[in-house]
Symmetry: C2
Subunit: 298 residues, 2 copies
């Protein structure tokens, strides 16, 4: 495993590897897992998928300032270099790209990549500018690494949808591979931000995954359930936990993220539905979701 | 010379060529000239530069709807496929990429690339959204062709500055090569839009290049000339032609496009200065410019 901090070195290294493979008649397949570090088993699952599908695996760790709002947690976002390196090594990563903020933004970027519509709601409504920061940095990283495949966790379902749209619209030559949410045994979706939770908040936070499971069950089992019924059930169930403050609890088409009429029976939905929630416990905002593929479309 | 209309075919062809070269131990160098067609000797000079620097030359011809405003000339933009093909052949182009609007935009793009600040003034002020359309389509084309070098005419000096900024900000792995303006013998900068001019307008339009030359001469020869003096002289000289309607006539730093204080002596300027004008003759809007590198900085 090699650790590189400069863009030039990453490019140079990958160019040499690709060229050497081609000389031997092989097309080198590169898998890329962009992260903000403080790696957990969710990230490990992305790295395992990347390892399985590709000849070479690149992991980037970069806490991207431009995707944080002014009152968000950029400064205190958790960092643990040694633990991250150990996990990367364990998962057979070939190249870790660890750029500084100056390396990625030698000047403040004048260029932004913006995906319209998909970013107007859900996390986009609560975090203005967040997705422009994400799509801009992901564009930069994809341009630096030029991978064949890039892996993203489905926990950030809106991020997956937005990046997939960007790649399609801009004809980026990469396959976006979404990977399933990894959970603690008690159901909490893994997130680097879980470290912020007090023991009481950690316990209370289980209401999110539990409520999403209830909503999913209702969608699957209750023939007459409408999108409105499911959204109400989700809100009711989360609000049963008095310390939970809902940012949103919503049901939308996936991956278009278009709204569905609340009167629509979910059984009648075409394709996939996303049931998603963002909930605050104190200063910590957690997100989680389930994606339903209705029987009629399997 | 081969002509391709599908993105998939362009990618596939270039991939195969690159791979074949690498197998023989060569890194294939690809030069790219993106155009809107109706090719003239300005385009030919770009193709010649590309031919000189690279193993393989790709020309794209695509009249990009999203860079035209609702009241602009998208529908009547001149097209002449046969003449374009003849010029491309003459200049030794290897691949002509001729996509349809549907191929480039199977759905309306939700994603836009935006470069701030550099697009606020000059042509950006008169053509809102124009540069977002340019940077978005150029991103798409660069992602499709993945060239080592891309060639742009310096006549669109703001476009060169904006694209260079985008490539730098987004870490696109391509060298942007600006090429000098090509002029008719009488000074008119070559443009596909010159075809719109009536004989009288064609004659009147000479005022632009003549006035830019005057402004340039003043900047070079008059020690005390300020940026304001030069801008005034430019305006005065263009307005001497009664049918000319000035959109802008401005002096700015290049390539930052930052404004310069009108009281600044141009002799004291650091680096390059752009003197640029956009002038309408009837419905036809023409642009032209000169770039000065002041003695002190050579």
């Amino acid at each position: 495993m090699i650790v590189l901090t400069e863009i030039r070195d990453v490019r140079e290294h990958l160019r040499a590897e690709r060229f050497a493979a081609a000389k031997e008649g092989r097309e080198l397949q590169v898998g890329f897992v962009p992260t903000m570090g403080y790696l957990h088993e969710g990230h490990a699952s992305l790295l395992r998928s990347a390892r399985m599908d590709n000849d070479l695996v690149v992991l980037s760790i970069f806490v991207n300032p431009i995707q944080f709002g002014p009152n968000e947690d950029f400064d205190r976002y958790p960092r643990d270099r040694d633990k991250d390196m150990a996990l990367a090594k364990r998962e057979g990563v070939d190249i870790v790209f660890l750029p500084s903020v100056d390396e990625m933004y030698p000047q403040p970027t004048k260029t932004k990549v913006h995906v319209a519509e998909l970013t107007d709601h859900l996390c986009g409504a609560a975090r203005p500018g967040h997705f422009d920061g994400v799509t801009t940095v992901v564009s930069k990283l994809l341009n630096i690494v030029a991978p064949d495949r890039a892996y993203f966790g489905q926990k950030d379902a809106q991020q997956v949808a937005v990046i997939t749209q960007m790649v399609q619209d801009l004809n980026m030559d990469v396959e976006i591979v979404p990977c399933p949410i990894v959970r603690e045994e008690d159901g909490l979706a893994l997130s680097s931000r879980n470290v912020y939770l007090s023991p009481e908040q950690r316990q209370a936070s289980l209401v999110i995954s539990r409520s999403l499971r209830l909503a999913e069950q209702m969608a699957r089992e209750k023939e007459s359930a409408t999108a409105g019924d499911i959204a109400s059930e989700l809100v009711r169930s989360i609000e049963a936990e008095p310390t939970a403050v809902i940012d949103y609890a919503d049901i939308r088409r996936f991956p278009s993220l278009e709204s569905v009429p609340s009167s629509m029976r979910v059984k009648d939905a075409d394709g996939k539905l996303l049931i998603a929630a963002a909930v605050k416990f104190g200063a910590t905002r957690l997100i989680d979701n389930v994606i339903l593929t209705m029987e009629g479309d399997k």
